[in-house]
């Protein structure tokens, strides 16, 4: 679709000039559909002060199909698996072309603040979370300190 790059261009421009708090997204120089993303762990979450690296890719059909996002930094979270894949409805069936990179990243940030062990991607982590929430939170904090520097 010839008209789409304009949207990507505009979205990118806005992400750089007015970045959402705690989020940065920069396209690779050789591929403008490929973004290096950094999310700062939200305050009052076990991920506080962590620096999380993610990669975001806009498929050819974007925005008709959702962007592909994954964590590069190891993270202990019931909705994020060992490969960094994220369980988030708007990245799957609830996607709407009206959503943007910005809204996706804000949603991921929100997911860090409120993990949802009832809709898990990483089953063992979710089990841990449900059986022993304090223990799980402690482990998430520990991982943040070790990996998200």
């Amino acid at each position: 679709m010839s008209s789409l790059p304009r949207r990507i261009f505009k979205e990118t421009q806005k992400l750089i000039t007015e970045p959402p708090p705690g989020i940065s997204a920069t396209p690779h120089e050789d591929n403008l559909r490929h973004f290096k993303v950094i999310i700062t762990g939200p305050a009052t979450s076990p991920y506080e002060n962590g620096i999380f690296n993610l990669e975001l890719f806009l498929p050819d059909n974007y925005p008709m199909v959702p962007p592909k996002v994954r964590f590069l930094t190891k993270i202990y979270h019931p909705n994020i698996d060992r490969l960094g894949r994220i369980c988030l409805d708007i990245l799957k069936d609830k996607w709407s072309p009206a959503l943007q990179i910005r809204t996706v990243l804000l949603s991921i940030q929100a997911l860090l603040s409120s993990p949802n062990p009832d809709d898990p991607l990483a089953n063992d982590v979710a089990e841990h979370w449900k059986k022993d929430e304090n223990g799980a939170i402690a482990k998430a904090r520990e991982w943040t300190q070790t990996h998200a520097k």
Partner: protein
């Protein structure tokens, strides 16, 4: 009813009269008796209405809005209709537009409602007139947010508009707004819709805005999507979803599929003989071969049973029998059960009885009485009762099975006879004035014969299950059959068997007549007899179904319809 259809029917009607007048058929003449009282059994308490309307042929659907409106609400005129692929798309669109117009909502909202109501638009209308839109929404369990009023906007087509998706600047005329208020450019819509079609998701296409549940209407799709292949894929999925949602419509079950759909105007739980325009026949309810007047449940049990007992059955259903008088082996080579031996003895294939004057009948089952050895009665009684019970069960079954099989065989043989007649008559048509007309009449008669044979065949299945008195548990096969007890049951059985018998006699005499050499068939007298006999058979058939419909079945049972025949002579005019 469209004017065209009406005319056709009038043409057919008048042709009948014309024929009767021309040939001056006297229906009370000699062996062909048409006597109204004859059908009404004097002893019967159960009765039927001679004037029960017999609805017409399966109706060819037409692209006429008025007619579609009528067919959507009226269900008495035709039991079913056959639609082709294009018909069904138009029909669906007409239903959507009608509901949208009456309720004052968008087409896409009307479509959502119709799906919720399983496409019973008359139910939506009735609810709407009683309880207004709020009542309809409540019944469909939809909140007011899901249904947006159809509002017209006053926007200038030349205004600039930035599409919120691609962020390109467009003119309003290059964009499309859904009733939910969300507007995007046509390029974005096209991309989105085509992607969904390719993914096979076109049945549930939603607005592109986040969390908006507004369905994308067909009118939008046809405006946006221009690619022929895409449109075809879309139409196919729409038709499929329509038929899936709509319990009153099924695909014709022919293989390979003819692509036609059949719509029943009766509750879909009633078995109904369907004949598609591709000439394939099936039962609407169970989609197997048509089997009226037996029910789908009876048929299931029956076919299972005949498989289990096939060895015994095959033995009985052999094609040769010895003449009861002289003992010569006689082969049953035609459909008629009235056998004539070379010794000139007339006998009945079914019971070996003497066949006199076409008045012979043996369709009712009589429980045989076995002589039990009375001397040892006290000691051996239990044993012999057990043996005779098993024997009675088998004999009873064989009684019905033999008759079932015989009518089936007759049907096949009569088809051969019919083809032979048709061929010969074509030859004669070149020699005789009016011959084409005769062919049509004879075709109608053979058609009637086939229908009755089929009815006879399955009437024995119905009789086997409905009037079982052996105490076996047949409840699961009696779904939809009225419950009778004691005397009531006996009475019902008597009436049923009387009617089956009457029909059977009429069928055999028609079959015999149609087996006459063609040279004879074209003679005015034979022709007259055949026509009279056909009328009689038709009457008997209608009578039998009236009994079923009004007295025996809970939900009724529909008389199978003849194939629509439009006389070729009339078409030529």
């Amino acid at each position: 009813m469209s004017q065209k259809r009406k005319n056709e029917e009038e043409m057919i009607d008048s042709s009948d009269e014309e024929f009767v007048e021309d040939d001056d058929i006297d229906l009370d003449e000699e062996d062909v008796e048409i006597d109204e009282d004859d059908i009404d059994d004097e002893d019967s308490v159960l009765s039927f209405d001679e004037n029960t309307p017999v609805s017409g042929n399966p109706k060819r659907a037409r692209h006429n809005e008025d007619e579609m409106f009528n067919t959507a609400v009226s269900s008495t005129e035709n039991d079913y209709m056959v639609w082709d692929y294009k018909d069904i798309i138009k029909k669906q669109q007409v239903e959507v537009e009608r509901v949208a117009e009456v309720l004052g909502i968008s087409n896409s909202s009307a479509r959502v409602l119709l799906r919720k109501f399983e496409w019973k638009s008359e139910n939506i209308m009735n609810t709407f007139f009683e309880k207004e839109l709020a009542g309809v929404l409540k019944q469909a369990n939809i909140t007011i947010d899901d249904i947006k009023m159809n509002q017209d906007e006053n926007e200038n087509a030349d205004d600039d508009y930035e599409c919120p998706l691609c962020l390109d600047d467009k003119k309003i005329s290059q964009t499309t707004r859904l009733p939910c208020g969300h507007r995007f450019c046509n390029d974005c819509w096209r991309y989105h819709i085509e992607l969904k079609i390719k993914e096979g998701q076109s049945r549930v296409m939603k607005c592109m805005a986040f969390k908006c549940l507004e369905a994308i209407d067909e009118s939008v799709v046809s405006k946006i999507v221009t690619d022929k292949h895409m449109r075809a894929m879309y139409e196919k999925s729409i038709v499929e979803s329509y038929i899936e949602d709509n319990k009153n419509i099924k695909w014709c079950t022919s293989t390979p599929s003819c692509g036609n759909c059949v719509q029943t105007n009766l509750p879909p739980s009633i078995p109904l003989d369907i004949r598609c325009y591709c000439s394939h026949e099936f039962c609407f309810k169970c989609t197997n071969h048509p089997h009226l007047p037996a029910t789908c449940e009876m048929m299931k049990g029956w076919l299972q049973k005949s498989q289990d007992d096939s060895e015994t059955a095959n033995y009985i259903v052999a094609n040769t029998k010895e003449c009861p008088k002289c003992g010569k082996v006689t082969e049953k080579s035609s459909g008629c059960n009235h056998m004539t031996c070379i010794c000139s003895y007339h006998w009945c294939w079914l019971c070996n009885g003497h066949f006199a004057d076409y008045q012979h009948s043996c369709g009712r089952y009589k429980t045989p009485t076995y002589s039990i050895d009375h001397n040892n009665a006290d000691v051996k009684r239990d044993e012999s009762v057990k043996v005779s019970n098993a024997r009675t069960l088998l004999e009873r079954y064989m009684h019905y099975f033999t008759r079932y099989k015989v009518h089936e065989d007759s049907r096949n043989k009569e088809k051969v006879t019919r083809d032979a007649i048709r061929e010969k008559m074509k030859v004669m048509a070149t020699l005789q004035r009016n011959a084409t007309f005769d062919i049509d009449k004879i075709e109608e008669s053979t058609e009637t014969l086939f229908r009755c044979r089929k009815t006879m065949q399955y009437a024995y299945v119905a009789g086997y299950y409905m009037f079982d008195d052996s105490g076996q548990d047949l409840t699961r096969y009696l779904v939809g059959v009225k419950k009778f007890k004691g005397q009531q049951k006996q009475l019902a059985q008597t009436i049923w068997e009387d009617n089956v018998e009457q029909l059977e006699m009429a069928v055999e005499s028609l079959s015999k007549l149609l087996e006459s050499p063609v040279e004879e068939i074209v003679q005015p007298d034979t022709k007259k007899n055949i026509m009279g006999s056909t009328v009689l058979v038709d009457k008997r058939l209608t009578a039998l179904y009236s009994i079923l419909n009004e007295e025996l079945m809970e939900e009724g049972c529909q008389l199978p319809k003849p194939r629509p025949v439009i006389p070729r002579t009339l078409l030529k005019k």
